[in-house]
Symmetry: C2
Subunit: 440 residues, 2 copies
């Protein structure tokens, strides 16, 4: 709670749900971290520079000359019909078959997430999420006053045994489980991927318990070994809402994502979308549609895949070179992130200001948890992104991080503890309670 | 409630707020009304064909070639800083002075509306709105389970006396008034404009009662007599949230709007926006920014003004020619709409299918009210839009409407009542409960 907020004359007028919203104190630090001399391994920004910008410019100019009056007009709340047909093609590799009418186009898949939670969650309803989970999703659950329960992952991702136990436990306590939120492929932030058997096991737990799965899949086409994991929605139509996005396969600045939902749910989502924004941008939608129709989008995704694989390789090699004994990390088979666990005694959040002073930035692991106990249990973890900086910068960043960690370990060896943090770790509830876009 | 919804396996899982959302039965009719042989005086679509589409194409192509990597990337949750500076220039004519930091850019001003209600309204909180009010705003209030209380307008718009009484009444009944929602300039759907004295009187009532005003101003620059009404926000900084939009001055398909809010409120809105969509589209924002920087946007607005004035004139002349005695209508000094009241005994909603059969469409007035009593009291009213069809089509549409009304009056004279409607007027709560985008 800042002083400014206390001076707000409308402070007593806010809705209950708005009181949970507070600015992350970590943001000021990331403003510093965005200076060019800092290697940022914090953000989840796709490397859109790898697009052929001239080709995109030509595509859009042609669209506006030929269909400008449509592209610049209001459209349907559900989204452009031709784009919804093309989305079916984009989802074919993950095994999803659907009808264009099953799709709702949204302002980024973040908005689809918001609409789903708005449609299902009363205050106090429970959402089960991975441990850790995507910070942007946690922000949505929190903004609707849902209760978030973290469920353990193992090396194959979300644990079906832990999931089943969590459902039983919540129900025994009188709670109402509304959604299981999962990122099965190239998880943000954990960097893990569920295999096929694991997906089937999770689907089975959800089916038996009668709980809806919210499958978030922004990275599904960005696997590094040529494989494309089969979506859970491909094997379960009525029990899964699937979220897709063009943010990582074309460009995040367009803000075009989508949901695939069972019929009744889809109807509710469209009505909620109309209340929220009337309709998604025809301009952005037709840009995506024209791009898909006139460019070799699969080849572009291959370009992204190779680029991110090279960066992933640089990160993993640098971690092996520069991390001290006792540090562990995940080895992502796709996507943008690796999850690092520091040696005993270290605190990634308390260390962050010193890391930024050492010209490297990351996101402390505590940001991917809601709840003080969960955050306390994960002070040693942090997320590294390899999507944006070129390989040599990634290596330099990890080298700097290694130096910072070595200094911390030296302090611990000498004084029994590292230097104190800046005090923000005393305000767990406010820290990273909502995502800054560059933490996506 | 459709059969499909009843068969929905997730029907019992929805949040309380989602049960109020139901598809408008009137939509199927508007699908028919979009056939080219029907003159639609129903939609609020701006006539974007009047833009120089080649110039827009050139602007965007240049943007993408020069700053494509920024335009296609994530941006800040509050919106692009240069655009926020330009928005200050766009608001100068309505008298608003502010700092770029006071502005939040949103996915159309509809999203700003949604964020404000999300931030302020708990279920049961009261929002005071004009009688009639914008259907898209009613959809938002309803979706957050706010209680809507309609306040009378006179020929100068919202009545300060009625407003003051409504606040007293709600408070006497134990209700919590959170917002006064008003469209002071070129009202949708009433076609009325508050004069300066009226605005001051309303501000004074709000100040005394300690209630926040939500001023919605999408049409402020579209006055037909060269005058630009001074915004309420120009005379009251801490008591007004102002909503602006490029939908009617540039293009609705871009989905770029904004809110100007007092400091503490603005902080909340940014956090809510980040939960809702992470960030507004950089692509759409930089398109607007580049357009404002490189095109004569004031001249374009003048073009729109003249075009809509010509259509308004055509409408008013045709109404004088073709409406039967006992019909009244407002004479808008700007914007898109005139509000028509039919002679005693007629029911605009029941008449709509026969109007569509007669190849003309409008929006029944009941759609602009929440609550059965309010709807019943306004069965004789309807909204006519003159923004989209060319003048000769408007005249033809009004001529057809005159014939339909004459037939109704003939039936009443012969049988004592008009032909019955199709039955939908028995489902007041479901009808037009949320806006279709083309009714915006």
């Amino acid at each position: 709670m800042t002083t400014g907020t206390r001076l707000d004359p409308w402070f007593t007028s806010y809705a209950q749900r708005a009181h949970g919203l507070a600015a992350s104190e970590i943001r000021a630090l990331f403003a510093v971290a965005s200076r060019p001399e800092v290697v940022s391994l914090a953000g989840g920004m796709p490397y859109v520079t790898a697009l052929d910008l001239d080709a995109v410019a030509d595509t859009v100019a042609q669209l506006l000359r030929e269909r400008g009056a449509t592209a610049l007009q209001y459209g349907s709340g559900q989204g452009d019909e031709r784009l919804r047909e093309q989305i079916l093609e984009v989802m074919a590799p993950v095994g999803i078959t659907a009808h264009p009418d099953d799709i709702v186009v949204t302002t980024g898949s973040q908005m689809a997430l918001d609409l789903v939670v708005r449609t299902f969650c009363d205050p106090g309803d429970v959402v089960l999420v991975e441990s850790p989970s995507y910070v942007g999703a946690l922000g949505v659950f929190r903004s609707y006053e849902a209760r978030v329960v973290h469920v353990d992952m193992d090396e194959h991702g979300l644990s079906p045994v832990a999931l089943s136990q969590a459902i039983d436990q919540v129900r025994a306590d009188g709670g109402q489980v509304k959604l299981i939120y999962t990122i099965p492929s190239f998880h943000n932030p954990a960097g893990l991927t569920q295999g096929q058997q694991r997906r089937h096991d999770i689907l089975e737990v959800a089916r038996r318990a009668g709980v809806l799965i919210l499958e978030d899949d922004p990275y599904g086409l960005l696997g590094f070994d040529g494989e494309v994991p089969r979506a859970m929605r491909a094997d379960e139509e009525t029990g899964v809402i699937y979220l897709g996005s063009f943010s990582k396969t074309i460009a995040s600045g367009l803000r075009v994502g989508w949901a695939v939902a069972p019929h009744g749910v889809r109807e509710k989502l469209v009505l909620a979308a109309e209340a929220a924004v009337l309709c998604p941008s025809n301009y952005a939608q037709l840009t995506v549609s024209e791009y898909l129709a006139t460019n070799d989008w699969m080849a572009q995704i291959d370009t992204f895949r190779k680029l991110y694989r090279e960066r992933r390789d640089a990160l993993l090699a640098a971690l092996a070179d520069h991390m001290p004994a006792g540090t562990t990390w995940t080895e992502p088979a796709g996507g943008f992130y690796s999850w690092v666990t520091l040696p005993e005694g270290l605190d990634a959040r308390a260390m962050l200001p010193r890391a930024v002073a050492g010209l490297v930035a990351y996101v402390p692991g505590t940001g991917f948890y809601l709840g003080e106990a969960e955050q306390d249990a994960n002070r040693r973890s942090l997320r590294l992104s390899y999507c944006y900086p070129p390989p040599e910068r990634i290596v330099e960043g990890v080298r700097r991080l290694g130096n910072v960690i070595d200094d911390e370990l030296g302090l611990i060896a000498t004084f029994g503890q590292a230097a104190p943090g800046t005090g923000w770790h005393q305000h767990d509830e406010a820290v990273l309670s909502t995502p800054a876009p560059d933490l996506a």
